[in-house]
Amino acid sequence: MAVSDISHRPRFLAKGNVYLPHIAVIEKIIDETYDTSTFHFNFKDEKLREEFTFESGQFALVSILGIGEAPFCICSSPTRIDHLECSIRQVGRLTRALHRLGVGAEIGFRGPYGNCFPLDFLQGKNLVFVGGGIGLSPLRSLIWNVVDNRDRYGNIDIIYGARSPADLCFNYDLEAWDKDKTVNMVTTVDKGDESWTGREGFVPQVLEQVAPSASNAVAIVCGPPIMIRFTFPVLEKLGFTPEQMITTLEKRMKCGIGKCGRCNIGNIYVCRDGPVFSYAQIMSFISSEY
Amino acid sequence: MKDGGMEQKLRSEAKALLEQGKVDYIIGFEAGSLKFTTTPLITSDKDDIDRLVINPFIVNNLSVYLSELKGRAGIVVKGCDSRSIVSLLQDNKVARENVVILGVPCSGIIDLGKVEKLVGKDRDEIDDITQDRDRVVITVDDNRREFPIREVLFDNCLGCELPTPQEYDILLGELTSAASDEDKIASQKKINSLKNIPPEQRWEFWRSEFDRCLRCYACRNVCPACFCQRCFVEETEPLWLLPVPRWQDNLVFQVIRNMHVAGRCTDCGECERACPVNIPLRSLTREMYDMVDELFHYKAGMDKEASSFLAAYEATDVEDFIR
């Protein structure tokens, strides 16, 4: 993979009409599972390609003009930006239409929006990544970011699970991290099939077995809400404080910039103040509003 | 209809129903927060029962709450509302054993819009509105004026065919009689004048009416016959209509809504009353009601044993329009 690191570029901010999407062209589509694909794309505008920056954890509103718009996290890393990547699962009108597109098709892209994973806070710490299903995509951006600057961080544990072997996303990345001697990669599935030789078990249980130390560590958890709900108690048991747990929230969004109102929980707007939160920030309302 | 006797009877019956555990809730009316208004009261608390009222301002068709409540409910209904319940029974949306129907023989509900027009004052500027049989006394700034009640009733009440509930367990008063033919004709005035203009003008009329529709869906949500779990306008695959208040989409939405409630709509007039921008929706629903009656001799909510209108057919149904 040709790697160009853009983390040194001045931060890109949308100018003018923030609702106007940039046009991007799909360069490659990788099928991850039967219903999920990763789209590699690049801006049509050469100048924008040079200027554009983002940080791990940020999201963008991807659209097909005429169909609609929806938020997706940028799942590639800012340290590897030949192109941008979004992993998209077929769940509705827009995502199904996206899956009907081929290489060369144009999509709308506006962003990046939202906050990002707190790299400063993570530096020098041991990192525990806990991911489930397509929830790996925001983590993936951060994991590559961290791996590409390996000396700045302590131990890295990655615990990733999916419902079945066929539901595992980013197999090529999983392999790369598995080979990486400086990373402890644990892959699990809820239920394996005949050819599956790896671990079986739900992510929270596997996390408990792996039992990473909480000392000087931060856990970053992304996945379906049900997994998140069961993972936090396990982390607490392992000695993680709410400040040591980081997650991303997912809400329905239309504007992405804190105006349209639908991602509002309490006084926060997930699009404007999130999507990355520490458990300490959200523990008060996660039970009642999420 | 301000009938102390009826109110007393309602309260004692409702209390008994709750006390004997025959129902889990009572759905009735209590005084509203504004002058001359009432508001639905949905309660399982015996102490709330004394707030129940019956007066000429009990506008809402409470049967709209039936399909969402769990358990058994005692419900206060007027003639048209009771037919909505029958219609819900026909569609199996409500089980008969789960409702105790407290029937109010209705002598018509006062349309505050008409009152306002009649006296040239807004509702809150009027001091008193009292019904005395077929007269109504309206007092504004100590000035008492008397009008025939028919001048201030809702159009659908004016032409009401069945003011006494069609289906009830407890009847709270004496039977009332249907509207006179003269009143029935008067209640159809708007529709008839529409029918008398050329089709292009009629289309133009509806176009301009639906131009101001905001798509708040109050007409749909207030309608007991609109009980779909997910309305066709909310469907995205296929996307029938944009959820955008353009007159074209607004009009299609309303026409299709009318198709869906054909044979279910009992002309309770709630859609028109709820509309914040006063689109004359009853001119659509009532025409559909009459059309169904005329073509198929079917009136909504009259027979709980009958099949729902659009889920049935007769071998002899009209087909003169088919080639």
Binding site: G16, K251, G258, N267 | Y65, R215, A218, R220, V277
Partner: protein
């Protein structure tokens, strides 16, 4: 207290002339009642009868700056790809004549949202070019409760020019530079007398007293938060709600919107339109919906206005215009809800 000595007066007879002068420079909007509904419309150049009947409009003036539906951009698709085009903005300067203080305050609230973090170009382009000419109420509705929310029926805080009805004339106060510039241009303004000023003061006081509906905003945030997780209470409060969009669509401070695309052949448009937290689809995601039950949606509406919005912008996002009470098909009354919640909080504290 503002100095009233700078004020002028304008005869009611001259209002048509004044509007005509302004019409040269602005698109003038006035309250308008076609056969069905009171809303805002372009002034026709003649009719000032609204001065007689106008109490407030059903559709709030937010609709002028933030319309129920607007085109965000259009696009064309050809062999070279998509071409985007912004709609032509032909009406940058709009003058709203006769806006009520509650609605003017609501626009100030909308300003906060639409200029926060990212600027909303559609709203701000219209709003920044707009002039608000306020007209104090003399006859508030029984559903109005603006005096409980740091405002009054004659509050001049959020307008450029403020008019107060003093009989045959309007007393005119120029509040902002925009307003002062407008007054400097017209020759219709006359000097005011002591008696006029006294009359204006009297009108303001009398009207203030006419607003009888009250809510207690003291500690309202804490009270609402203390009952936030009380499911039974919220279920009871929401029982009669039919979850239509009336209260939110016609609320002058509600700003939620939806974005939708339409494509016909190779050209299309992206629209934004009002949306409401009362609708279940509002928060629906493909796999789940955090607010399926209607009490959760209603709770969001109430708490957003009285708790969350103040936490972000330091102002309650309700101006007491009373539309949501007047227009609700089931007479769901937000003031009663706030009372109930306060009472509940009281009981809880006593325990």
């Amino acid at each position: 207290m503002k100095k009233v000595t700078d004020s002028k007066k304008i005869s009611k007879k001259n209002i048509a002339k004044l509007l005509d002068e302004w019409r040269q420079e602005f698109t003038v909007f006035v309250p308008w009642r076609d056969e069905a509904v009171a809303k805002w419309a372009r002034w026709d150049g003649k009719d000032t009868s609204f001065l007689d009947w106008y109490r407030n409009t059903v559709v709030p003036p937010k609709a002028i700056f933030f319309p129920p539906m607007e085109e965000m951009f259009s696009f064309q698709k050809d062999r070279e790809g998509y071409h985007l085009e912004l709609p032509a903005s032909d009406e940058p300067k709009q003058l709203i004549f006769g806006i009520r203080p509650c609605d003017a305050k609501a626009l100030a609230v909308l300003n906060m949202t639409f200029s926060d973090a990212y600027e909303d170009p559609y709203y701000l382009a219209k709003r920044n070019g707009g002039v608000l000419v306020g007209l104090g109420c003399t006859n508030p509705y029984d559903s109005c409760f603006c005096t409980s929310l740091d405002s009054s029926p004659t509050d001049s805080a959020n307008v450029d020019l403020m008019l107060t009805d003093i009989g045959d004339d309007f007393l005119v106060e120029a509040i902002t530079d925009k307003g002062k510039a407008l007054m400097a241009k017209t020759s219709l303004a006359e000097a005011v007398t002591r008696a006029d000023e006294a009359r204006a003061k009297d009108v303001k006081e009398t009207t203030y007293a006419k607003v009888t509906k009250k809510i207690d905003t003291e500690g309202i945030k804490e009270k609402l938060l203390s009952g936030f997780d009380n499911k039974d209470l919220w279920e009871k409060i929401a029982a009669k709600c039919i979850t239509c969009g009336i209260c939110t669509f016609l609320c002058p401070t509600c700003y939620c919107f939806d974005i939708n695309d339409e494509l016909v052949k190779n050209q299309g448009e992206r629209f934004r339109s009002w949306d409401s937290c009362a609708f279940p689809l509002y928060t629906k995601m493909p796999m789940e919906n955090p607010r399926v039950e209607k009490w959760r949606r209603l709770r969001q509406k109430v708490c957003h206005k009285y708790v969350f919005y103040p936490m972000n912008f330091d102002v309650i996002a309700c101006t007491g215009c009373g539309r949501c009470i007047r227009l609700c098909p089931v007479n769901w009354d937000i003031t009663q809800t706030l009372d109930n919640l306060s009472a509940e909080a009281q009981v809880k504290m006593e325990k």
